[in-house]
Every structure is written in C-alpha cells, then in structure tokens.
C-alpha cells in the first residue's frame, strides 16, 4: 500500500533527476514502448516503464534497490523510440551514478566491479588496456580465470597486446579524473 501525500515529489533525488533530465517524470504516460523494445528487460527486476512509474510515485529508494538500472546496456533503444521524448536511458544512467556513488550494487556486483575496474585502467593508462582490465576485473570479482580460454587465440592473432599502449595524454586524463571525483558538482565518483 502506497500512501500518497501532498508532495509525492518531495524526494530531493527525484527533483534533481527531473532538473537534470530537463523534463518532469510526468512526461511519461506509461505506454510501455521502452520496455517493449528493451533487450535487457528480461533480466531486469522491473522493466524501464515500471522504473519510471515508481519514480513518478516518489519511490526512489525502492528503484535503487532493484537491478534494472545496472543491467541497462545503454543501447538507447528506449530513448530513441519514446513517443514523449522521455530520456529513459538518461534516467537509468542517473540512477547508476547515484548507486555507484553510494556503493549500491543491488545484486549486480559484477557490473559494479567492472565499471570500477574499467575506469581504473583508463585512469592509469589514459586508454583502455584490455588484458589488464580482464585480469583486474577477474581479481576483483573473484572469477580468476574467466574468459582466459580465449586469450591464447587472441594473443596468437595479435589481438591482445602484452603491454599497455602509450601515447595518451596521461596528465590531462588524471586531471579530468581528479576534478570529476573531487570537485565537480556533477561528478563524485
């Protein structure tokens, strides 16, 4: 039972989200087209339109507890097809940003860890270093040998480099990371 009170949108998080999106969540009229085309909906706790519905009703925390936004693949099918131009993918990303900041994995620790690892490698090397990413990811996620079956073949075909490439403007990249995490109002990694 949801008790609706006078200001259902009192949640600051939702107000911030709406400001960020540039449109109120009530813009969504629940046609469900986003969910209909979502390739990842099958593995979501609630499909995208339901996520938005809960947000419309002010149930921000409940949404954060669900895995939907973590398994969103950001393919933008939803946003592209939305008849009311609701920024569905954007909503998912904003939820991820918040969850990431709060350290909420909602049962999707592997995804959480992957993002962390990915950004670490980028931060260190300025570019993505895939073997490093795979190893580090496996280390952090506890699946030590996952995907290593493919590695010998890839090495043979010259697809994996044993050492990270050079050439990126590392100083600039570190500056970006530092600023995004520590100072920017929209950052907070």
């Amino acid at each position: 039972m949801i008790r609706l009170n006078r200001t259902p949108k009192s949640s600051a998080a939702i107000a911030r989200m709406e400001e960020h999106l540039g449109h109120p969540l009530s813009q969504c009229y629940q046609c469900g087209k986003c969910s209909a085309g979502c390739p990842a909906a099958y593995t979501m706790d609630e499909p995208p339109n339901r996520v938005i519905r809960f947000l419309q009703l002010g149930l921000y925390d409940r949404v954060l507890e669900q895995n939907s936004y973590w398994v969103c693949s950001s393919c933008e099918t939803c946003t592209a097809r939305c008849p009311r131009n609701v920024e569905v993918k954007e909503i998912m990303e904003l939820l991820r940003h918040d969850a990431y900041r709060r350290g909420l994995t909602s049962g999707e620790r592997a995804v959480f860890v992957f993002h962390k690892t990915f950004l670490k490698t980028v931060k260190w090397f300025g570019r993505l270093y895939e073997p490093g990413l795979i190893m580090l990811n496996n280390l952090l996620s506890g699946h030590f040998f996952k995907d290593f079956a493919a590695v010998p073949g890839m090495l043979l075909k010259g697809k994996l480099k044993l050492f990270p490439g050079r050439g990126a403007d590392n100083a600039a990249v570190r500056r970006i990371f530092k600023y995004s995490r520590e100072e920017a109002p929209r950052g907070e990694v």
């Binding site: 390739p39 099958y42 904003l94 962390k116 995907d147 890839m154 010259g158 403007d169 500056r175 920017a184």
Partner: protein, 297 residues
C-alpha cells in the same frame, strides 16, 4: 578529404583488423587520416554509467586535441560518446564550464564528429567508390549489422535512419554482395556486459547470431569493434549454448570494401578474425568466377 582520426582503444588491440582495413580503404579513397595527439579513452561504457562529468570530459579532451576540423571515428561507441559530448557541451553552457574546468583548457567546439561509415557512404560519391573497385563480392550473402549506438538517438547520431539504416547495405550492394533483409540490424549486442554479465551477452548476441543464420547469410558485416568482438569471440560458445550449427564470420565493412579494392587479405587483417573466414573468401572467389565466366564466353 582530411580527418582527424580517433581509432579508440579497441582498434589498437582487439580490433586491430578494423584499424588496418580502415586505413587501407581510406588511403585508396584519398581520405587522409591524421592521428590525434594524446587522445584518450572515450570512457565508454563505464564512464557514462557511473560519472556524468567523466563521461563528458574524456571525449572532450580528445575532441579538443584534434587538429583537423572533423574527426573520423570508426568505433560506434566512441562515435556515440563523442557526439553526445559535442551536442551537450554546445547546448549546455553550465556543463561546458564544468568540463572546461576538468580539462583545464577551453573546449574546442565546432569539430564535426563523424563515423567512418558515414564518411565513406555519404561523403564519397558512389561512382568514385565504384571506380576504385577491382573486384566484387561475387554475390555473397551478407546481413549488415549496425548495432545500437551507430544511429541512435535520432538527434545525436543523425546520419542514417534510426530503425532501418541503409548506409552499409548500399556500400555492400555496390561491392556486389547480396544484401539480405533481416530484423536485427539495430538491436543491441550487450557489449557493456562483455565481462560483467556474460550471460546477458549470450542472450542478446545469441539472438543476433541466430537471426543472421536464419536469414542465410554468409557473413555479418559490422561497423563497431564492440559488436564484432561479441559476435566473433563469443560465437562458438553462444552457438553451442543455443544448439545451433554453423559458423558465421563477423567482418568489418572496411575489410570487405578493401577486398574489392584489391587489398590483400593480410593487409586487411582477415587472419585476425577468430571465426574462420576462408569459406567466405572461397565463396567470394567462386562467385566472382561465375559472374566473370559468361562475360568471357
């Protein structure tokens, strides 16, 4: 034509054949590619997933570092991130100020971000491409897979139709392939979960592979290294899980284009594709022979 070239991280590692073939084709077509000094990762897919500012600042760094007035990006994910960044920074002064603080220098607005497919299909006249072709694809059957990020969303990546893009189809037809119609040209392969939720990749990529096999294609033509890696690297495991027979190589459109322009397979990095491409090559060759024979007789 001169472009700043932004290969992105993958073209320097898992998608090296894309890099090779892209450079070869551009050279033949007289498109000059200039490397961007100090380019960095665009942040896809994690940066935009978890940190908004990072997601804009990383591509902004690369755009600002470009020396030419336009950037050619062969990777759909990079292309998408770069365009997103450019569109949003131009529209949102506040965001731009934030990003510039992170960059420590002014953002260089006005650089056009283009995908390589867009450039080749839309900037180079068809008859010019035709003039450079030394052979055909011999009627080999292909499906063109654009993936999710190449054409979406409408107002960001606006070079082709969002639901039914045709740029790659046109190029492949020009090369003499039989381009098959199929329903999954813009469906996501799940690249973001390549390492974290492999089961999701199996599910999504599996649908694409099954559909391509059902259509009767000899190859899936792609324009994104992420897609290629999912379709190629994980194909044996996925098809085994789906209990499907056969193999279908995922090749870059630049590789097939290069092949017709007379570049060698080695030059184009065909050997670097995990799924065996020799049956495809064989079909192309026998197709060429068949079409050539009656003309001679």
């Amino acid at each position: 034509m001169k472009f700043s070239y932004y290969p992105g991280c993958t073209l320097h590692s898992t998608a090296v054949e894309y890099d090779l073939s892209a450079r070869a084709v551009c050279k033949t077509l007289g498109i000059e590619l200039v490397d961007i000094p100090g380019w960095a990762c665009c942040g896809a897919t994690s940066a935009h997933s978890v940190n908004e500012l990072l997601a804009y600042a990383l591509p902004a760094h690369t755009i600002t570092s470009a020396t030419e007035s336009a950037i050619a990006a062969p990777c759909a994910a990079c292309y998408n991130r770069l365009r997103y960044t450019d569109v949003n920074l131009r529209e949102d002064a506040h965001l731009r100020a934030e990003v510039e603080k992170a960059l420590g220098r002014p953002y260089r607005a006005g650089v056009a971000v283009r995908h390589l497919l867009d450039i080749i299909a839309n900037d180079v006249p068809a008859d010019e491409i035709q003039a450079k072709l030394a052979g055909t694809l011999g009627g080999v059957k292909v499906v063109c897979y654009y993936g999710c990020l190449l054409t979406r969303p409408r107002d960001v990546a606006a070079f082709d139709d969002m639901e039914e893009p045709r740029a790659m189809d046109r190029l492949m037809e020009l090369c003499g392939a039989e381009v098959l119609d199929w329903p999954r040209r813009v469906v996501c392969c799940g690249a973001a979960f390549s390492l974290s939720r492999t089961d999701v990749v199996y599910h999504m990529t599996g649908k694409i592979l099954a559909s391509a096999l059902k259509a009767g294609a000899d190859a899936v033509v792609v324009a994104c290294p992420m897609c290629q890696s999912n379709l190629d690297l994980r194909q044996p495991a996925i098809l085994k899980k789906l209990d499907l027979e056969g193999r279908i190589p995922a090749v870059y459109f630049t590789q097939l284009l290069g092949l017709c322009m007379g570049h060698s397979r080695n030059e184009l990095g065909f050997g670097k594709i995990m799924v065996d491409t020799s049956p495809l090559i064989q079909k192309i060759n026998s197709g060429r022979a068949e079409t050539a024979a009656p003309a001679e007789g």
